[in-house]
């Protein structure tokens, strides 16, 4: 190793013949650990040491035909041992230690031969650091540096989802009014025969989710069949369904008439989820138009009606206390039935959070339940998993704002300069998922100071535009 006390000049090297991935590694290395040991120059002529990737034929050729005649010492990178005169072999993958050791040897060589590695500079060597360098300069299995095209994603069969624990065939059927016991639910999802060979068939639920979560992307890249305008208006009407179209209200106005109560559908759903979680068993929620199965162990809900279609809104609006809303723990018979249904309609299986999220939004349509005060300062405990939730305008900026600073809903809308209905929708939906902390004192705050001031906002904005725009 190089000793701390030694004062040596950096070795001039040129990375033109190092090969792409070695170059990246060396750049990192030179930027920090090796910053005083090596210095980059822009041509091999200017280098005091010739550095080449011996496994890269053009580099090797140049070395053999040209550089070797110069008589400069060489650093030869290769996966297999190379013994050349006046050259040090560095095994790939490169390690910090082998680079530092080689540098030391070269410094000595150059000093002995009276050549200054870099005459115009005296630099202090980087002190040895303990970075956990466990790698020795040993031979490694062959490494292929490949430049790859994004592959066509291969067709994937629907995964067998280990839904819940194994069913006990002999266990007695559970009647609706029987006490909760340990009978567990098993549902095996069979591979659907007629699945399209694309990624989203992995689970059909994702087909819907994708349609929704990439709503913004869709604006810019409409599917070939739907015109840009048509898809825009579909998105707009869906947004109104989710978040309503109410105008903003003054923060000091009377909120008495503003609140909307949870729909009967939503409150029943929340009760069913609570029950299912408490007993860790599947629960069936019965409505005349639909049967909803809450499956806590796999965090999913089965519902025959597509929640991203208008029919689901009709279901929510039509549910009343006089018509259904009864719930019970699934019987073995019902578990078998559910098994069959899932195998025929895997797309009806939704992520539980995604189901609650969309149900909440459609129930309130931009309003707030009485329990959520838009004037109260609250914080976002955790981000919702936005990749699997139906998207609506500004959901992500609201999450970022509310997660960084506790605020009231009015102020969130004001600070982002967006319509209040989106903030109320977010507030309501995240609250349904248990992600809102009403007591901001309890929130975890990041230790470090906020970096928003020094964050390169221009770059971030441009990158965001790219990411959103596809």
């Amino acid at each position: 190793m190089i000793e701390n006390s030694k004062q040596n000049n950096p070795l001039n090297v040129c990375l033109d013949d190092a090969g792409t991935h070695n170059k990246a590694i060396l750049d990192f290395f030179f930027a920090k650990l090796g910053q005083n040991v090596f210095r980059c120059v822009d041509s091999q002529e200017k280098a005091s040491v010739v550095l080449i990737d011996y496994d890269f034929p053009p580099a090797r050729q140049k070395y053999e035909e040209e550089y070797q005649q110069w008589g400069k010492p060489a650093l030869v990178l290769s996966i297999s041992e190379v013994s050349l005169e006046n050259a040090i072999w560095l095994a790939k993958p490169l390690t910090s230690r082998s680079l530092l050791d080689a540098a030391e040897t070269l410094q000595k060589q150059l000093a002995n031969s009276g050549v200054e590695p870099n005459a115009d500079e005296t630099a202090e060597l980087y002190p040895p650091t303990d970075l956990g360098l466990t790698e020795s300069n040993q031979l490694h299995p062959p490494v292929q540096t490949t430049r790859q095209r994004p592959p066509e994603i291969a067709s994937l069969g629907a995964a067998a989802i280990p839904l819940v624990k194994k069913v006990d065939e002999d266990s007695p059927d559970l009647a609706d009014d029987e006490p909760l016991n340990d009978t567990a639910v098993t549902v095996e999802v069979e591979k659907e025969e007629d699945k399209q060979p694309d990624l989203s068939t992995n689970l059909d639920t994702e087909t819907h989710e994708n349609k929704q979560t990439s709503a913004e992307t869709k604006d810019i890249e409409p599917t070939p069949e739907i015109s840009e305008e048509a898809s825009k208006s579909i998105n707009e009407s869906r947004t109104i369904m989710l978040c309503g179209d109410k105008p903003d209200i003054a923060a000091n106005s009377d909120l008495k008439d503003f609140y909307t109560d949870d729909s009967f559908f939503l409150s029943s759903l929340k009760d069913a989820i609570r029950l299912a979680r408490q007993c860790q068993q599947g629960v069936l929620l019965n409505f005349p138009k639909a049967r909803i199965y809450v499956l806590p162990e796999i965090h999913r809900v089965f519902c025959g009606i597509n929640i991203y279609e208008d029919e689901f809104l009709d279901l929510i609006k039509s549910c009343t206390i006089s018509e259904g809303g009864k719930m019970h723990i699934l019987s073995t018979q019902e578990i078998h039935e559910l098994n069959d249904m899932i195998s025929q309609q895997a797309s009806a299986l939704y992520d539980m959070e995604a189901f609650v999220w969309t149900s909440t939004l459609l129930s309130a349509q931009g309003g707030l339940p009485r329990t959520l005060d838009p004037k109260k300062v609250v914080g976002l405990k955790h981000w919702p998993s936005l990749t699997r939730l139906e998207n609506f305008p500004h959901a992500m900026p609201i999450a970022a704002q509310w997660s960084s600073t506790s605020m009231n809903a009015f102020d969130v809308a004001k600070s982002l300069n967006i319509p209040q209905r989106y903030v109320f929708s977010f507030y309501n939906a995240t609250n349904s998922l248990g992600l809102i902390e009403q007591d901001p004192e309890k929130l975890i705050t990041k230790k470090s100071v906020p970096r928003s001031k020094d964050a390169p906002r221009g770059l971030f904005s441009r990158l965001l535009k790219r990411l959103v725009g596809g």
């Binding site: 822009d42 790859q148 999913r300 975890i444 965001l464």
Partner: protein, 199 residues
């Protein structure tokens, strides 16, 4: 370090050739097979450069190819503005590179494979290994393979992060889907600069 403009056609892809590009890196990390290479490939504008090997010592492993040195991809914002995407090798014997890799990074994308034996331990390990970087910059967590392994769920991860006193967005993702990876990075950027406008 002095920055040179490399003459190779592809060399700008690596470093951009000027100092200002240094703080435009996003690092992807996580255990073997979590989807780092795939995620970078999903979002990169260029063909990614990877050092995947089909080595014999991986014969026992769960996947045919593993990254041995690093992955590199890039998002080109304009001719002069690029965001570099670096993936760490999943194998822990390459830890020595992590320090160097994170220098000047915007943030960390931690991918956790939900099908592994102890994802909570993985979460602990990587958040500890990148502790300083996470404190100074922004962490986002992407849980992969939830399509085949529903347990643990996203909420479990939220609780585990609470226990570690770390605040970070946690998204279920499929590394093969550009939209998923994109949303994860958007969450990172917006966390760093809440209220940032999309220009």
């Amino acid at each position: 370090m002095p920055h040179e403009v490399y003459s190779h056609a592809y060399s700008n892809d690596w470093w951009g050739g000027d100092m200002s590009t240094e703080n435009r890196k996003i690092i992807f990390t996580g255990p073997v097979g979590a989807g780092k290479t795939t995620a970078i490939r999903s979002i990169s504008d260029i063909e990614i450069v990877t050092t995947d090997e089909q080595a014999s010592d991986m014969a026992k492993a769960r996947k045919p190819a593993t990254t041995v040195a690093m992955d590199y991809g890039m998002i080109k914002l304009s001719e002069n503005e690029r965001v570099h995407l670096y993936g760490t090798p999943g194998q822990e014997r390459f830890n020595f590179m992590w320090d160097i890799l994170t220098e000047g990074g915007i943030g960390l994308v931690l991918l956790i494979d939900n099908s592994r034996k102890d994802p909570q331990q993985d979460l602990k390990f990587y958040t500890q290994a990148f502790k300083k970087f996470i404190e100074a910059q922004q962490l986002v967590v992407g849980i992969t393979r939830m399509d085949t392994h529903r347990v643990p769920n996203v909420n479990d991860y939220r609780q585990w992060l609470d226990q570690l006193k770390i605040k970070a967005p946690v998204f279920e993702i499929d590394a093969r889907k550009r939209d998923d990876v994109s949303l994860l990075i958007q969450a990172m950027l917006m966390s760093l600069a809440p209220g940032a406008e999309i220009l």
